[in-house]
């Protein structure tokens, strides 16, 4: 330590003129407000900011310059021999030199701020609250980096070619390893990876610099050889570590999910789950998971905002793939138990990943609606198996499209005119006969106010439940003509949701200040006896656990754990509590969809799935209330 201090002191003494230069440079921050004729708080702020940037610039500049010059120049011209001819260890020479440079850079940075600090009356706080110290510390980290880099540059040996090759390969491997995380928008996970990699590589530079001095001593080429070996080793460790880390992050399985609210769907025995995963920061994987076979299949990550579509019978999953347009529609066959290993590329492309897709019940026909903003959009029909284009028809500009196949030979389209800032909203209904390449106009709904518009067609397409965004109530309309069949408005009640039950009836959930209720209506909107429910602020459907037995989730007050799931027997009017804190997985399937086949079919395993407040996915036996953990460890 005595030697290290002696070397450091000598280094400072030798470069002491730099401190004088820094002190003179410190006049700059106090001169700026004078030159620009600023006064008061504004002048104080300008002095502080100037001093702040001056200090950081000087610290970084000195670190790079002196780090590059001090030691390696001594090695290359052998002047370092003066120190090696003394009883000084290599560590003392290396450490003393670098400590001297660090002290100089730090002292120079502080000296730059000194005049402004004094003029400001002992205040150097900048408005945005940044502290100078972390920036100075980061600047000092440049010293070993600069020193280690100066060795190969000064040695001018052919080995520098190998250095470039190694670093080029390392950059390539890192880029390849990072790409999946970049695509998954896992910026936090990636940032930690970068930090880890940077730390290892920086350590490599630090150790390489030391080894260059310890092994090279007065021989710059030997120093280069020693430094390169260490740099290559640490780079390899860093790159392999980074690759292993990204692999670890990407290896998250369904069992690692800690918060599965991110993306969920349920159909048959398949559920789509995705969200935050244990030790994976913001990487949010997504999986198709078969709750019976426990088999899973990785899907595009949640953060890619890729929408998924289940076919009617949960035989196929569809989504758009690609980082930029055109996006290709890909399919994954999900059988009753297992998913096929292969994702099939359909050769069906869309210009937008937000295009609407509908699949016929027999999984044969695919309709693809591509609205194009102010330009006319395009509705196309394909044969899914072959990817063959069949027909297309234009769509009106500035519309949102909802579509579905009421029958395998009929495509129903709701074209929602939604001009931004314009009121009211109109819904044009038409059917598209792709065999005849003919669009047949139906009727029109509206005008309606802007807001949360909800369209819920019956599976046969004959009727349509519409939520009026202004009146906040539902009405039943003819599915093709749009003619109102019945208004479902009840004075003093707020309609929360309405849906067609599997037997064709309509369930309508309503709440008021003190209570909630279910209204049951027949297919024509005629009232049948309703069912009273406990008071709820919010109420959501959760799918039919068996035909006529509907799960609903209630929440009396805000907060996730306040959810309660009830089982409502629509025949007897009986209401049974399935569990406090449970939220039905099927609820997610009903959000923002016009697909009458969304959600688990009655009696399917997915209809019995619930999330718990500790983020587990459990299957609840409706008869006993017993919970079986399907996914998650909380």
């Amino acid at each position: 330590m005595k030697g290290l201090i002696a070397v450091a002191r000598r280094e400072i003494a030798e470069n002491r003129m730099a401190l004088l230069a820094a002190l003179i440079a410190g006049i700059g921050p106090i001169a700026v407000p004078v030159v620009r004729n600023l006064h008061g708080a504004h002048a104080t702020e300008v002095r502080s900011v100037s001093a702040f940037f001056g200090a950081v610039t000087l610290a970084a500049g000195f670190s790079i310059l002196l780090g590059f010059q001090t030691l390696s120049q001594g090695i290359s011209d052998r002047r370092i021999g003066f120190f090696f001819a003394r009883p000084l260890s290599s560590a003392a020479i290396w450490g003393g030199k670098l400590a001297g440079v660090a002290s100089l850079a730090l002292a120079a940075a502080l000296l730059v701020t000194l005049p402004a600090f004094l003029v400001n009356g002992g205040n150097l706080a900048v408005d945005w609250g940044w502290s100078l110290w972390p920036f100075l510390a980061l600047s000092l980290l440049l010293i070993p980096l600069s020193f280690a880099l100066s060795i190969p540059i000064r040695s001018r040996s052919a080995l520098i070619g190998a250095d470039f090759l190694v670093f080029g390969l390392a950059a390539l491997v890192v880029a390849l390893a990072a790409r999946p995380l970049v695509r998954a928008h896992a910026t936090v996970a990636l940032r930690w990876g970068w930090i880890g990699l940077a730390l290892i590589v920086w350590l490599g530079f630090l150790v390489a610099g030391y080894r260059a001095v310890a092994r090279g001593r007065t021989d710059i080429r030997a120093a280069h050889r020693a430094a390169s070996r260490i740099l290559w080793l640490f780079t390899a460790i860093g790159v392999l570590g980074f690759a292993a880390y990204t692999r670890f992050v990407l290896s998250a399985g369904p069992e690692d999910l800690t918060d599965q609210w991110g993306e969920t769907m349920a159909k048959g025995s398949w559920v789509v789950v995705g969200g935050a995963a244990r030790h994976r920061f913001d990487y949010q994987p997504r999986f198709a998971y078969n709750m019976e076979s426990r088999q899973s299949r990785r899907l595009p990550d949640v953060s890619t905002d890729t929408r998924l579509f289940f076919s009617h019978e949960a035989k196929t999953l569809l989504w758009f793939e690609g980082a930029e347009p055109p996006y290709e529609l890909v399919t994954l066959t999900v059988g009753r138990q297992a998913a096929s290993a292969e994702v099939r590329h359909t050769r069906i492309f869309s210009s937008s990943r937000w295009s609407q897709v509908a699949l016929s019940a027999d999984d044969r026909w695919l309709a693809l609606a591509q609205p194009k903003g102010k330009e006319p959009g395009l509705l196309s029909v394909y044969e899914l198996g072959s990817g063959r284009f069949l027909a297309s028809t234009p769509l009106s500009p500035l519309t949102h499209i909802r579509l579905f196949f009421p029958r395998s030979d009929l495509l129903r389209v709701y074209e929602i005119a939604d001009v931004p800032g314009s009121n009211p909203v109109r819904i044009r209904i038409f059917d598209f006969d792709w065999a005849a390449r003919k669009a047949t106009a139906g009727g029109e709904i509206g005008p309606l106010g802007t807001g949360w518009l909800l369209l819920s067609p019956s599976p046969d397409g004959n009727r349509l439940l519409v939520r009026d965004p202004v009146k906040r109530s539902f009405f039943l309309a003819d599915g093709r003509s749009g003619q109102t069949i019945a208004a479902l408005f009840a004075p003093g009640w707020k309609a929360r949701f309405a849906m067609f039950l599997s037997d064709g009836r309509i369930s309508l959930a309503e709440t008021n200040e003190t209570q909630a209720r279910f209204r049951i209506l027949d297919g024509h909107g005629q009232e049948t006896p309703g069912i009273g429910l406990p008071y709820a602020e919010t109420i959501f459907p959760g799918g039919e656990i068996s035909p006529g037995k509907l799960v609903v989730a209630l929440r009396a007050k805000a907060g996730v754990s306040a959810w309660t799931s009830l089982l409502v027997d629509l025949k007897t009017g009986g209401v049974k509590t399935l569990g406090e804190g449970l939220f039905p997985l099927a609820t997610f399937s009903y959000w923002n969809t016009t697909d009458p086949f969304a959600g688990p079919s009655p009696g399917s395993p997915a209809s019995r799935l619930f999330f718990t407040p500790d983020h587990r996915l459990v299957e609840v036996d409706p008869a006993t209330g017993v919970r079986k953990v399907i996914l998650g460890n909380g």
């Binding site: 005595k2 030697g3 002696a6 000598r10 003494a13 030798e14 052998r78 002047r79 370092i80 021999g81 003066f82 090696f84 001819a85 003394r86 009883p87 000084l88 260890s89 092994r215 001593r217 007065t218 021989d219 080429r221 030997a222």
Partner: protein, 319 residues
């Protein structure tokens, strides 16, 4: 062979290579304590590489260097407390003056004698307030010598210390060196071109030629066996040849001049010379002792390439 306790410096098969070129090839030597070893060699003979290896500043490609029986590469820090060094190029930090340099060294050596350093600098007449970078080459050398002697080293390594020094500075350096030797019995390894300067000081001499140690011998023995013999030759008919009259000697260098033959022999003794002088055809034979410089020139004066380029002189040529 001397024991490690008696040996200050030992090189064992030391080889230094820079890429494909070889600076030192399989050099082995040992220097006993108290000896003054003059390592001679032409520029590029490998002296400086050898010295750097000896000081643990460079790792040899093969072989090893020992100081006081300990490997210098691995134990350099401890060993340097016992060694004083005057490098070929004075390498002290240029911004510091002699007193600051001395103060720096004082912190590193437990036995540092500040007064002695200051006295020596005063004796040299070096300006102690001037920064090292502003000193003349001679003054720099004197400062380096003062620093090298400041801790009373057991071994003093001087790598061409008189290079660039004027006559007065050289004299001062050697006087100090002699004084140091007389006072403490310090072992000295000196590489130099100033052969006359070390003539009376060196106790042993080594000559490096093209990286190889071609000579390593006690100085007195060396000087006693090398002689210059000049004679007229009445036997050979051509000037470019000489006969077998020199067979009794190992002739290091032979030149045929207008008046006769000028030869340097490396195994001279009086008896052989008497026989040689009485050889038929040899007339006016004279023998003269040689200085270290003359011996060096005879041994290392020509490189292999230069020698190969010369017209060979056939020994025992046509009569």
């Amino acid at each position: 062979m001397s024991t490690p306790q008696e040996t200050a410096v030992s090189l064992e098969g030391l080889t230094v290579r820079y890429g494909k070129s070889t600076a030192c090839e399989d050099v082995s030597l040992s220097i006993a304590r108290g000896a003054v070893y003059a390592l001679l060699g032409r520029n590029g003979a490998g002296k400086s590489s050898l010295v750097r290896c000896l000081l643990g500043q460079q790792k040899p490609s093969a072989g090893r260097a020992l100081l006081f029986g300990r490997g210098v590469w691995s134990e350099r820090t401890a060993l340097m407390a016992r060694v004083g060094v005057v490098p070929e190029e004075p390498d002290a930090p240029p911004a510091m003056n002699a007193l600051q340099l001395s103060d720096f060294c004082r912190r590193l050596y437990p036995r540092w004698n500040q007064k002695e350093v200051e006295d020596r600098l005063a004796r040299f007449g070096v300006s102690v307030r001037n920064s090292f970078g502003r000193l003349s080459k001679g003054e720099k050398g004197e400062v380096m010598l003062a620093l090298a002697l400041g801790h009373g080293p057991e071994l003093l390594v001087l790598d061409d210390p008189t290079l660039g020094l004027d006559l007065v500075a050289r004299k001062a350096l050697y006087e100090d060196l002699v004084g140091e030797l007389a006072d403490r019995g310090t072992t000295v390894l000196i590489t130099t071109h100033d052969l006359s300067g070390i003539e009376g000081i060196a106790t042993r001499v080594g000559i490096l030629k093209e990286g190889r140690l071609v000579l390593d011998e006690d100085a007195e023995t060396l000087k006693s066996r090398f002689r210059r013999i000049r004679y007229g030759n009445q036997i050979t008919e051509t000037r470019s040849a000489y006969g077998t009259e020199l067979d009794a000697f190992e002739a290091v260098k032979v030149k045929v001049r207008g008046w006769g033959v000028d030869a340097v022999v490396s195994n001279y003794n009086d008896l052989s010379f008497e026989r040689f002088r009485s050889t038929d055809g040899v007339v006016d034979a004279e023998v003269a002792p040689m200085s270290l410089e003359e011996i060096f020139l005879a041994v290392a004066g020509e490189s292999s390439a230069e020698k190969a380029a010369e017209t060979p002189i056939a020994k025992g040529g046509p009569r």
